[in-house]
Each structure stands twice: as structure tokens, then as C-alpha cells.
Subunit: 300 residues, 2 copies
């Protein structure tokens, strides 16, 4: 199971009861927090996000609407008695800010906080069942996108058939990953004879905040769900460019050319009270588009 | 007019839809922001606080529940086009945090931000119609209370009588401040003959977060309204002491012994969902006590 729950969908500052950027990505029993604007801890409480499942936090860049809520999340977790490790992946200067804020308050968190500065594109977390990588996006200051990928066997064993061919159950795990079996007499049991395709592993990519840039297409190629910022409607393409942001049209073009399954758009400018035009414009280019709405979970 | 509007009344972390500490003090055409926990800018929008009237911000101490919302308030004011000066009065390390957060975001605020580190007790702002002073309170880290005082003439001129006695209207301002008039022939017009007492100047004192400490009584003596923290009910006096906080009983004792008109209590621990007992306990000692309720304005 891979799903994204939106906690904040606005850009720059809170407006119209929309909050600055934050979302959680749920992958099996893990919850990842992606960006953390002011008020994220309140939004987590409102939408009943289980904080104890969050062990990894990813921060795209150090504009306040993407991280001002982080120190509150971290210190509140401490006050609530958290003991398990926490890992933060973010531009390096964030560590200085957190360290300074803890120091002036004379606070020792009751859990270990591991800070992983983002330095180059590639895999930043790899565990048995998932992998997260980061890639450059193109904003006024250093900014990163993240790609979440389930790791799961791509074949499912048919136990009846496997036993008919004499494959021992101790070999089933290797069957799931595509291996064929050879018995002691040298008889080959082809993988395809005893397995079927399993549910494909899902993937999600998060691209905020960024200019429209063709290099991103390659980085998000073929994901099941892409989140791409759309700060402005298409008539403000020039303004978007100047401010290192994207329009509906541009986000949908990335989705189309990257061959993704579905597009989620957010980071709406506070100049817009109503959002329908965002959906309409993006769907003209890429029909399978949805608005990122706070409190809604988008299953991949 | 002197009034206090509560934006956050909870301690440590948000809970039960209560927010971390923040309040605004309105004095004639001025609005002062006092402490600024996470979410203060959202609370200001919710309760329609006119941000353009805020030119002075007072931060008691650098525990996050009293200042994590400040950087969001400051940067949002910039995004909304503020141009007038802003003055912040706070422990000195706050400047380093703000400077670092602006630097990593590569932000130049479009208005001048003047930082005034709190160093010693006494007057910190004095303008024609008001005065603000700071005083020590006693918390785990450096912490300050604030006292707001209207400055207004204590006599009101009776213009008819003043003219009868031949006092020129150009002297009326001096009459308001208690002076007597002497004409060119050396005849004295006693102030009391031509003036009456005017509405007394009001005062408000804010004491958070602090231990019960008798030294505070002197500092808040005789104010019209005192805000004093009550993190705990009276049965947890020992715990309150260990954590450098106060109980209902202790706050009410300060109010009683300082001879204030009215007491406002807040900074409730998240262990309490219901707050009635706070009011009951404080009123046993000091009857004219009210709970600080978010969104409510307490007129002095």
C-alpha cells in the first residue's frame, strides 16, 4: 500500500484555511513526512496521522513554508515521550537551525535525531520494503524532489505447482524474486512454471518547488503518482518563471511526457481563493489530474 | 482603551484545539503581540487581528511554545507587502535564529526589523500614549514579564470654568497634567478650580512562564489586569515547582497580594482537557479571576 495524505496545499503563507506545504506518504507500516510548513503538528492531530510511525522526514528546501513547522513537530514528539530514532533528510543548513533552537531552549530530545544532509542525487534511504531517492528540482534556492519506491517481489509463488515440480518451500523467497530452481539431479524448474506476476511495486514522486524544467521528466519517469507544484494558472507563466514556480500547464506537461499514471497538483498561490481552474487547466493536458486537497488521502 | 485578546492559551504543545501561547494587547490605536507560539499567524487571521497595527512584538523566553510562530509572522508580513518598521523585544539569542532563518532562505524583508535584546528590568518602550517595561520572572531559562501602561492626562479641563478664570486654551494641555496657571498680573488659578479627575490610565502585566516567586508581586503591584500562568492545578504544586511553573493557587496569591483588579490565567498543561477547575481554584483565593479563552478579548 502506497498513499499520500495532504496536510497543507498552499504556497508561501496560510490563506483561505489552506496551510503551507506538508504531506505524509504511507508505505505499508511506514509513514514519511514530506515537508513541514507551520501548523503541521496541528494538521497531523486533525487528520489523525500516527506520529509514532514517522521515522523519516524529508525537507525539500529551506523556504519557511516548507519547514517552519518542523521544530514544533520534533520538540512535541519529545514532550510526548518519543524514544525511537528519527532521521531527517534536508539541505545541510537546517541542522544549524534545529541545533540552535534546541540549544537556546536548553532542550535535550529524549530520542536520537540523525541528520542526513542532501548532497547528491540518488538513493538516500534503502530498507527491505522501500527505497527513497532524491533529485534536483530548480528553485530560487537549493531544492530537492523525492521519489518513493516500494520494493516487493515481482512474482507470486503458486505453492501447489511448486510442490508438484518438487521445489522446496525454503526456495520460495528466491522464486518470488525471479530465480529458477535446479534440483540435485540437475533438472531445471523454470521460474515461470511455478509463479505468476504479483502486484507491481508502486512509486511516487514529489516535485516542489520548481521551475518547469525538462530534466525533471527523466527523474519522475513512469511513477504511479506524481505530485508537481502548480503555484499559478497558465496565464501567469512568465511570473511563474521569474519566481521559480510552475503553472498548471507546465506540471501537466511534465506528467504527460514522463508517462506517469496520475498527477496531483498543489502549492497554490494565495492570490487564488477558488481552485477549480487549476484542475480544469491541468486536465486539458493530462486528464488524470487531481487537486491536492487537505485531509484527503490519495492511494496509488 | 486597553484590552487583551488571547490567541493561544495552552502550554508546551497544541492540544484539545488549544494553541501555544500568544496574545495581543490593544492600547488605543496600537496593537502589541506578546509571545508567538506556532500557528499565531493563523490565529490572527481567524480572530481578525489587524497586523498592520502591530509594530512591537514582545517575546518572554525562547521555549518554542512562545516563539515558534514568530518567523512565520515576520516573513508573511513581508510577503503581504509590509513596509513600516517592526520592533522586537526578546532574549538576545532570538536574533541569531531569525537572522539564520532569513539567510538560508535568501530573504530580504521589505521592512526594517529592529531587534532590542532584553537585558535589564525597566522601561523598554516609551511613546506619547503608552509605556512598556520588562521585569524578571523565574523559569528554567531566562524569562521576562511585561508591563503595559497607558500614559494619559490625569485631569480633564472644564473649558467653561477655565475661561471664566481667564486661562487661555493654549494652556489647557498643561492643565491636564496638573499644572496651575498664573496670569500676567501674578494671579494664581489653582488647577483644581478648573479641572476634574479624568479616567485613570490603565495597566496590564503579563507573567509567563514562571515559578511562584514573591519578587513578582512588587513588579505587578496595582495593575488593572494581571495575566499569570497556571500550568497546573494546586494539587501539583510540587511538580509545578520542579518544572518552573505555577499553580492556580499560586497565581491567585500573586494577584491578591499585588492588589490587582482582575486576574487572567492561562498556559494550561495538556494533561487537562477540561478547564473549569482552574477557574474554581483560582477564584477561591482571588474571586475576580477569568480563564484566558482563545478568541476572547478582555477589556481592562
Amino acid at each position: 500500500m502506497l498513499a499520500v495524505t495532504i496536510l497543507g496545499n498552499n504556497s508561501a503563507l496560510p490563506a483561505f484555511d489552506r496551510h503551507p506545504t506538508a504531506q505524509v506518504v504511507t508505505m505499508e507500516e511506514h509513514i514519511f513526512l514530506v515537508d513541514c510548513g507551520e501548523g503541521t503538528q496541528m494538521q497531523m492531530a486533525k487528520y489523525k496521522i500516527r506520529r509514532s510511525k514517522i521515522n523519516h522526514i524529508f525537507i525539500s528546501h529551506l523556504h519557511g513554508d516548507h519547514y517552519f513547522g518542523l521544530i514544533g513537530v520534533l520538540t512535541s514528539m519529545g514532550l510526548l515521550g518519543r524514544s525511537q530514532d528519527m532521521h531527517i533528510y534536508a539541505p545541510s543548513a537546517l541542522k544549524d537551525i534545529i541545533d540552535l533552537q534546541l540549544k537556546v531552549a536548553d532542550i535535550q530530545l529524549p530520542y536520537a535525531l540523525y541528520f542526513h544532509p542532501l548532497e547528491q542525487e540518488g538513493v538516500i534511504v534503502r530498507e527491505a520494503k522501500f527505497e527513497v531517492s532524491c533529485f534536483h528540482v530548480y528553485h530560487r534556492i537549493e531544492c530537492w524532489g523525492f521519489r518513493f519506491r516500494e520494493i516487493r517481489p515481482f512474482r507470486r509463488v503458486n505453492p501447489e505447482k511448486a510442490r508438484q515440480y518438487g521445489v522446496p518451500s525454503s526456495f520460495f523467497d528466491r522464486l518470488k524474486w525471479g530465480e529458477s530452481y535446479m534440483d540435485k539431479e540437475g533438472n531445471l524448474v523454470e521460474n515461470g512454471w511455478v509463479t505468476e506476476p504479483s502486484i507491481p511495486a508502486k512509486s511516487y514522486a514529489y516535485a516542489a518547488d520548481t521551475l518547469f524544467d525538462e530534466r525533471i521528466i527523466e527523474k519522475v519517469k513512469g511513477v504511479d503518482l506524481l505530485y508537481h507544484e502548480t503555484t499559478y494558472l497558465k496565464d501567469l507563466e512568465e511570473q511563474a518563471g521569474k519566481r521559480y514556480h510552475s503553472t498548471t500547464n507546465q506540471a501537466a506537461t511534465v506528467a504527460l511526457r514522463a508517462g506517469v499514471q496520475r498527477l496531483l497538483i498543489g502549492h497554490f498561490s494565495s492570490k487564488y481563493e477558488k481552485l477549480q481552474a487549476f484542475e480544469q487547466e491541468a486536465r486539458e493536458v493530462f486528464p488524470n489530474t487531481d487537486l491536492a486537497v487537505e485531509g484527503v488521502t490519495y492511494r496509488v
